[in-house]
Assembly symmetry: C2
Homo-oligomer: 385 residues x 2
C-alpha cells in the first residue's frame, strides 16, 4: 500500500458549471468539425464521400503484456455514402456527429437513450426513420468515439448512474465541495461523468480504495466505519460498475496513486466484474485505455477461503453448467490466460463445485468481513493480481 | 403547492451513531422479547406452542376511501409447533426473531440476504438446513413485521439501496450534516434506512418534491438547476423506487408538508411505479401505512400529451399484449377503479396504442421537459391524483 500522505491536487477548482463549456469541449468540437469539413470538401470536389472508421473487432485488438492493457490496432473500415449497404450508416454517422456537436455546444449532457430520441425523425419525403432502434445509434456513437478519439463522456453522453462513495477524500463536483468523510449512511452518489473538468480531487488522506460489488456489503463497511479505521475510500458500483465508477477508480489510481482492491463474489460474475475494472471489455479496447485499472487487485472471496476461513457448507451455492462454461471463457481472457494464480483460482472454484458470496461471511459473524477478512488480506498482502 | 416557508424541525440532531442503539430499538426488542416469552410460557406450562400471524392476503386488506390508504384487517392464522405442516415454519419464525434480536442488540443492520445467511445452518443431529432458500426467510421476516408491528427497517433490515436526492434541504444522516444544495452532479445517495433516528430534516426551503423515474432524467433536471429555479427537492428511485426512497418521500410529505409530484413514463410500468409510491403493494398493506404517499400527484407523461405537446410519431412505442393486459390490471386497483380521470388516462393510452417515455420529450428540445413541460403542468395545476 502507498504511504500515508496528504495529497492536494494543484488543479484549480471547478471552472465548469453545467451549461458552460468544459475545457475539453473545444478539442471535441474541433474534432467534430474536422470530420464534417473533410466530408464536405470531398463532396464539393465531386468525389464520393467516405469516412474511415477504426475497426472495433477482436482481430484489431491486442493485449500489451508489458503495460497490461488492451490496445486497438490501426485497421479501419471505409464507410461510403454511395454504397447501398453503407448509405444508411453513413447518414447516421453524420446525423449523430451533428447531434453530438449541438449537445457539446449547448453545454448539456444526455443519455444514450436521449441521443437516440434527439436524432430520430422521418427522413423528408419518405416514410423512412433515421434510426431503427436505439442499438443503431449506440453502435454509431461507439464508432464516433474511436473516430474522434473522444471518450463518450467527452461527447457529453452518459450511461446509467449507479454506485456510491465515502471515505477520506474531498472532491469538487461541478463547483460544489463534497467531503466524503461526512456523507452519513447514504454516501455520495458517483456521477455518470467524472471527467476532470466536472470532478476534481481536493484533499485526500486515504491510502487505498476498497471497491465492493454490492451496496449491501458497502453498507456493512460504511456502518463499521472501515474507511475511517483503515484510512481508505470505499466505493461500490451496484454490481457491474457503470462507466462513471470505473473512470473514477482509474482517476483515483492514476492521479492520486491509490491502490485499488476489489472485494467481489467467488463466482464467474465476480471474476467478470474484476476483469472489466482491470481491463474493460475486449470490443471496447479504445475506452479501456482511459478507464481500465490494470493494477487493480482481487482481494477475495477466494475459492480457498472455504477451508482457510473454516466456513460451513451453508455458504455453498452449486455451480451450474452456465457458470462452468462462463468460468472457462473468463480463464481464457488474455490477462488471465497466462496468469498462473488466476488459472489456479478458477480451477479451484471449478473443483469446489460451488460459488460463494461476500455476504455469506456473515455465517462467521456479522462484522467478520470488515474486522477480520479484509484486514487480514491487506496485512498479509494476500490478493490476486 | 404549499406556501414558501423555511422550516426547521425541532428534532434534535442525530443521537444515533452506527453501532449505538437507536431510539426505536428498545420498543423493537421489547416486542421481540414478548413474542419469545409468550411461546416459552406456553411451552413450560405443557401446552402446544402457538403464535398468531396476521393474514397477509388480499381478503384481509381493505381500501379506506376516506383516508385513501390500504388497511390490514384483523384476521390471523395460527402457526403451531406440533403440526407437521407448520413445524418448520414455526421454527423459522423463532429462529429469525432471535436473529433479528441479536442484530438490533448489536446496533447493526444487514440485508435480507445477510439475514438469510445469518440464520442458515444444519439442524443439529440431522442433515436438514434451517432454511431452503432466501425466499423462505424473506416470507417469515414479512410475517414478523406484521406480528411485531415493526417496519423491516426497525428490525435493522434493509433492501437494495438506489436513488439520489438534491435540492433545497439540509439533512442529518447518522450525525453528518448534508447540504443537498451543494451535491454537485452526483447527488446524495438516499440510504436504505431513513427512519427518524438515522435521518433528520434540518433546514428545508423547498416548496415541493419532484420525483422522476430514471436517473438519466434526474440528471437533466439537476444539470438545468430545476430545483434551484423552482425551489424544490429532486429525487429519483432508479426505476421502481426502493423502500428507502418511498419512506423518504412519505416523511418529506408528512413532516415537512411537501406535495410530491411524480414524472414517470406513459406506460403500465410508469403507472405501476406511481401506484406503489401512492399506495404500496396490496399484499404488504402493513408497510403501506407508513410508506405510501396517498396524496402523490402524477404530473405526466400523459396520453393526451401526444396531441397537446404536438409530438411526432418518433415518440411512439407500440403497446404489446403484455402492456395491454397489465394496463387493465392496474386500472382495476382499488385506488384507480373509481377514479374517473385515471380510468380515462389508461383508456386513452390503450386507444393511442402506444407508450411514451419522459426522455422522448427531447425530440422537442433537450430542455423542453425542464423548461416547458413540468413548469406548465405545475403552473396550471394539471396532474392526475
Amino acid at each position: 500500500m502507498a504511504k500515508k500522505t496528504t495529497r492536494k491536487t494543484s488543479r484549480t477548482p471547478a471552472s465548469s458549471t453545467p451549461g458552460k463549456p468544459r475545457s475539453t469541449d473545444k478539442a471535441t468540437i474541433a474534432n467534430l468539425e474536422r470530420l464534417g469539413s473533410t466530408v464536405a470538401k470531398v463532396s464539393v470536389s465531386g468525389k464520393d464521400p467516405i469516412v474511415d472508421v477504426p475497426t472495433r473487432t477482436l482481430s484489431n485488438t491486442s493485449f500489451n503484456k508489458r503495460k497490461r492493457t488492451l490496445e486497438m490496432g490501426d485497421a479501419t473500415q471505409q464507410r461510403e455514402l454511395f454504397n447501398l449497404n453503407q448509405a444508411k450508416k453513413f447518414m447516421q454517422t453524420m446525423l449523430l456527429a451533428s447531434g453530438t456537436k449541438e449537445l457539446v455546444e449547448a453545454g448539456k449532457t444526455t443519455s444514450l437513450r436521449g441521443m437516440y430520441y434527439k436524432c430520430l425523425h422521418t427522413i423528408a419525403g419518405t416514410k423512412e426513420k433515421t434510426l431503427g432502434d436505439q442499438s443503431e445509434s449506440d453502435a454509431v456513437l461507439e464508432d464516433l468515439e474511436v473516430m474522434l478519439g473522444s471518450l463518450r463522456e467527452e461527447l457529453h453522453l452518459f450511461a446509467k448512474k449507479a454506485g456510491t462513495m465515502v471515505g477520506n477524500i474531498t472532491v469538487i463536483d461541478s463547483g460544489d465541495e463534497i467531503d466524503c468523510r461526512r456523507m452519513g449512511s447514504g454516501g455520495y452518489a458517483i456521477p455518470s461523468i467524472v471527467e476532470p473538468d466536472i470532478l476534481q480531487f481536493k484533499k485526500c488522506d486515504a491510502k487505498f480504495v476498497l471497491h465492493v460489488e454490492k451496496n449491501t456489503v458497502w453498507s456493512r463497511f460504511n456502518e463499521d466505519k472501515f474507511w475511517q479505521k483503515h484510512n481508505c475510500i470505499l466505493t461500490e458500483g451496484g454490481g457491474q460498475p457503470p462507466r462513471g465508477v470505473r473512470r473514477l477508480l482509474r482517476r483515483l489510481h492514476d492521479e492520486l496513486k491509490l491502490p485499488v482492491y476489489c472485494l467481489l463474489d467467488c463466482d464467474p460474475w465476480g471474476h467478470y466484474i474484476y476483469s472489466v475494472i482491470k481491463q474493460g471489455s475486449i470490443n471496447l479496447a479504445f475506452e479501456s485505455e482511459r478507464m481500465a485499472v490494470p493494477d487493480a487487485k482481487f482481494l477475495g472471496i477466494r475459492a480457498l477461503d472455504y477451508d482457510r476461513c473454516e466456513l460451513t457448507d451453508d455458504v455453498q451455492i452449486a455451480l451450474n453448467d452456465r457458470d462452468t462454461s462462463r468460468a472457462k471463457q473468463i480463464a481464457a481472457y488474455p490477462w488471465f490466460a497466462q496468469n498462473k494464480p488466476w488459472q489456479m483460482e478458477i480451477a479451484k472454484m471449478l473443483k469446489n463445485g460451488f460459488k460463494m458470496e461476500v455476504e455469506s461471511l456473515i455465517t462467521k459473524d456479522i462484522s467478520y468481513v470488515t474486522e477480520v477478512y479484509v484486514p487480514e488480506r491487506l496485512r498479509e498482502r494476500d490478493w490476486l493480481d
